[in-house]
Symmetry: C2
Subunit: 413 residues, 2 copies
C-alpha cells in the first residue's frame, strides 16, 4: 500500500503548484518535454526493442506486438501529440456562467483541476505521454500504471518527460509511474480514498471489470464498444454498404468499429447479398437463421451479439423495424457509438432519442467517435458511463468546477 500512497501523497502535495502554474508555464514545460523526447529518441527505441524482443519470446501475437512497437514515425506522432495539447486552450479557471443574485452576490462557476488522476493502461506506450500531456495541461497530477509488457518503453518515456520537466520550475514529481507492475499496486490505487480524484482504466473488458469490481475511488469507464449500424427500410443502400465497410473494416481493433449489422426485414433480400459480397474474404460473418436464409454464413450465438470482436468479424441480424433495432441495441450495446442509415425523418428522431449511447449517428460511420475528430484536440479515451463525462474525454472532461461567490457582507435572512 505505501508504495502507491507515497506516490499519491507527492502528487497531492504538488496540487497547489500545478494550480498556480500559468498556461504559459505549462506550455513551456510541455515544449521541454517534447524536446526531451526528441533527445531521448534512440534510448526510447532501444528500450522499446527490449520489450518487443521479450514479447516475441513470450509468443505475443502480431496485433499486440504492433500496438507495442515504437518506430520513428510513432515517436514523431507522440511529439506531435504534445504540440497539439500545447495549442489547446487551457481548460482551467474558465467560466461559461457568471450571474448575480437578488442580494447582489455574484456567482461564477469556474473550472478547476480534478487534482490527481490515475491511469491504468495496457500495451500502447504512447498513452504514457498522451495521458501525461492532457493531465498536465488541465492542471492535474498523474500517476501511471502501464502494462508489464511495455515496462521498458514506458520507463524510457517517463525518464524523458521528467528530463523535460527538470528544465522548468515545475517539479518532475507531478508525474508518478509504477515501475513495479505487481497487480497488488493496482488494487492499492483503486482503494486509495482521498488520495486520487479519478482513475481511468484504458483497456479491454477484463481491466474495466476489475476496476468496477474493486474501486473505492471515482473511476471513468472507457473504451468498450459493441457498436451497431442499423440500415432502415428507407436507407440508401449504396451509402449503407460504404458505411458498413468503413465502420467494420477501416480499423478493426478500435472501440468505435462496428460489431453488429442490423437490417430492416423489407430490404434484407436486397442488401444482405451485397454486404456478403463486400465483406466476403475480408471479415467473418455470423447471423441468425433468418439471415442465413438469404446469405450462407455461420450461425450467430446469443453471445456473438453481445461481443466486441475487435477483429475481422461481424454479427448480422434482421429486425422488423426501427423500434426493434433500438431494442436490440439497448439490450446488447455498450452505450458507445450507434448509427442508423435512413431517409425517414421520423426514424431519425426515434433513433437519436431512444438509443442509449454516448454518440448516435445518422447516415455516417461509427468511426468518428474520437476526441481529435470532434475537435477536442486529443483524448484520454471514450467514456461509456453516464456520470461525470460521456463520449470522448478531452481536456474539458478532466476538470471539476468551483462556485466563486463575491459579496459585500451578505448574510442569509
Amino acid at each position: 500500500m505505501s508504495y502507491v500512497i507515497d506516490k499519491l501523497k507527492k502528487l497531492k502535495e504538488l496540487e497547489s503548484d500545478l494550480l498556480e502554474a500559468s498556461s504559459l508555464e505549462k506550455n513551456n514545460a510541455l515544449k521541454e518535454v517534447a524536446i526531451a523526447i526528441e533527445n531521448n529518441r534512440d534510448d526510447i527505441k532501444r528500450a522499446n526493442q527490449k520489450d518487443i524482443n521479450i514479447g516475441k519470446e513470450n509468443n505475443m501475437n502480431e496485433a499486440l506486438l504492433d500496438r507495442l512497437m515504437l518506430d520513428d514515425e510513432r515517436i514523431d506522432g507522440i511529439i506531435e501529440g504534445i504540440n497539439t495539447v500545447i495549442d489547446l486552450q487551457d481548460p482551467i479557471w474558465k467560466s461559461e456562467k457568471v450571474w448575480t443574485l437578488e442580494n447582489e452576490l455574484t456567482v461564477s462557476r469556474m473550472s478547476v483541476p480534478l487534482g490527481v488522476i490515475g491511469i491504468i493502461y495496457e500495451s500502447r506506450p504512447n498513452v504514457t505521454v498522451d495521458a501525461f500531456s492532457l493531465a498536465f495541461k488541465s492542471g492535474n497530477g498523474i500517476v501511471l500504471r502501464g502494462s508489464s509488457s511495455a515496462i521498458n518503453s514506458n520507463i524510457a518515456l517517463v525518464h524523458a518527460i521528467k528530463e523535460g520537466l527538470r528544465k522548468t520550475d515545475i517539479s518532475e514529481e507531478v508525474i508518478q509511474f509504477f515501475e513495479d507492475t505487481d497487480r497488488k499496486h493496482v488494487m492499492s490505487l483503486l482503494t486509495a480514498k482521498g488520495y486520487v480524484d479519478l482513475v481511468i482504466p484504458r483497456g479491454g473488458k477484463g481491466l474495466i471489470d476489475l476496476v468496477l469490481e474493486n474501486a473505492k475511488v471515482p473511476t471513468l469507464q472507457t473504451g468498450e464498444g459493441n457498436c451497431h449500424v442499423y440500415v432502415d427500410e428507407s436507407g440508401n443502400l449504396d451509402e449503407a454498404i460504404k458505411i458498413v465497410e468503413n465502420a467494420k473494416l477501416q480499423r478493426v481493433g478500435v472501440c468505435n468499429a462496428c460489431e453488429t449489422l442490423l437490417v430492416h426485414e423489407n430490404i434484407a433480400e436486397d442488401l444482405l447479398p451485397r454486404i456478403y459480397e463486400m465483406l466476403n474474404n475480408k471479415a467473418e460473418m455470423v447471423g441468425s437463421e433468418r439471415v442465413r436464409e438469404i446469405i450462407e454464413i455461420e450461425r450467430a450465438t446469443e453471445e456473438d451479439y453481445g461481443t466486441e470482436f475487435l477483429d475481422y468479424k461481424i454479427a448480422i441480424e434482421i429486425v422488423k423495424d426501427v423500434d426493434e433495432a433500438i431494442k436490440h441495441i439497448n439490450k446488447y450495446g455498450t452505450k458507445h457509438s450507434e448509427s442508423i442509415v435512413t431517409e425517414s425523418y421520423t426514424n431519425v428522431q426515434k433513433f437519436t432519442k431512444m438509443v442509449d449511447a454516448s454518440t448516435v449517428y445518422v447516415n455516417a460511420s461509427t468511426r468518428f467517435t474520437d476526441g481529435g475528430v470532434f475537435g477536442f484536440g486529443a483524448e484520454m479515451g471514450i467514456s461509456t458511463q453516464k456520470t461525470h463525462a460521456r463520449g470522448p474525454v478531452g481536456l474539458e472532461q478532466l476538470v471539476t468546477h468551483k462556485y466563486v461567490v463575491l459579496g459585500s457582507g451578505q448574510i442569509r435572512k
Copy 2:
C-alpha cells in the same frame, strides 16, 4: 436481492416512456401529484402522527422529531416545491453546443436523462416528494429508500404521488419505494450494477461512509459540510462578526453552517473578544491554546477541527496568514463551503483559487450554498465530490449527455 432488482427492472422498462414524455405531459403529471397531496393532506398528517408517536416512544430527540414532523405549513411547502419544479425549464434534450466538422458532420451535445436514480435518505419525509419531482422532471425513474422512523409518512406521500400519476398517461411505477427498510436492501441497491445509474445518499457521515464503502454503482456524495470562515488581517471586523453570527447561528443543523472560525493573528486580540461576546450563551466555543490566551473558552481537540458539529458549537483557531488559513481548510474541510472576510485583492485571488471546495465566498456567509438561492429552483442536495457534479445538485445535474451526429454518408479516411 430480487426485492430491489424487481423494482429497478420496472424503472428500466419505463425509461423510454419517461424519455418520450413531453415537458407538458410531465408538468401536468406534477400538477396532478400536487393536487393528490392536497387531497391526501389529512391521511398524510395522520400517518406522520404515527411516526411522531413511535419516535417519542423511542425517545427520539427534539431536533430529529422536528425534522420528522409534517404540519399544514410543511405540507404547503411540499406542494409549493412541486410548483417550483413545474416552473423550471425542462433540462432534457437541450444543447448548448452544436458544431460542424470539416467533413460536414454536424455534432450536437444533447442532454438526456441519467435513467434510474436511487435516493437513500434520513428522517425528513419532504425529501420523498422533492426528490421525486426533480427526478421526474429530468426524465429519470426514481427509487426511494427512506428511514424506518418516517416509514408511515413516506408511504402516505408515495401513495399520494401514485394517485396523482394514475390520473395521467405516465405509469405510476416510475416511482418505486422500499416499504421494507431492512438494511440488506440498501446493500442490494448499492450493488445493482446495470440497473441503477446514480445513487444519492442524503444524510450524515455514517450513511455517506456506508455508501462509499459498499457501492458498486455510481454515487453522488452530498451534504457533509465542515465549513470555515477565515477573517483576514484586512477584513472589516463589523462585517466579520455579522457573517460569523449568520454562518454559525442562523440555522445550525445544516451542511452550509460554519463549524470553524479562523482568525489572522494580527487582529485576533481585537476580534476574538467581540466574537466571544456575540456567541456567549448562544454557542459553545472551543479553541487552541493561542485562542485561549485571548478568550476564556474550552480547549479544542484535533478532532474538533475535523468535526461537522451541526450544533451550537464552534471551533476557533488563529493563523499566521491567508496561506495558513488555506492549508487548515484544505486539511480539515469537507470541500463544501468556505468564506474569507478581507479587503485584500491578492488574498481574494489566493483564497478563491487555492481553497479546494464546491463553493468559496468572499465577504459573505457560507449559508448561501443552496440550489434555490443559486437560482437552480430546487436541489437534491449539495455535492461534495469532484466528479459528475459539484455544489448544489439541481435539474441540470441529474442529466447526462449524448452526442448526436448528423451526416450524409460520411466515412472515416
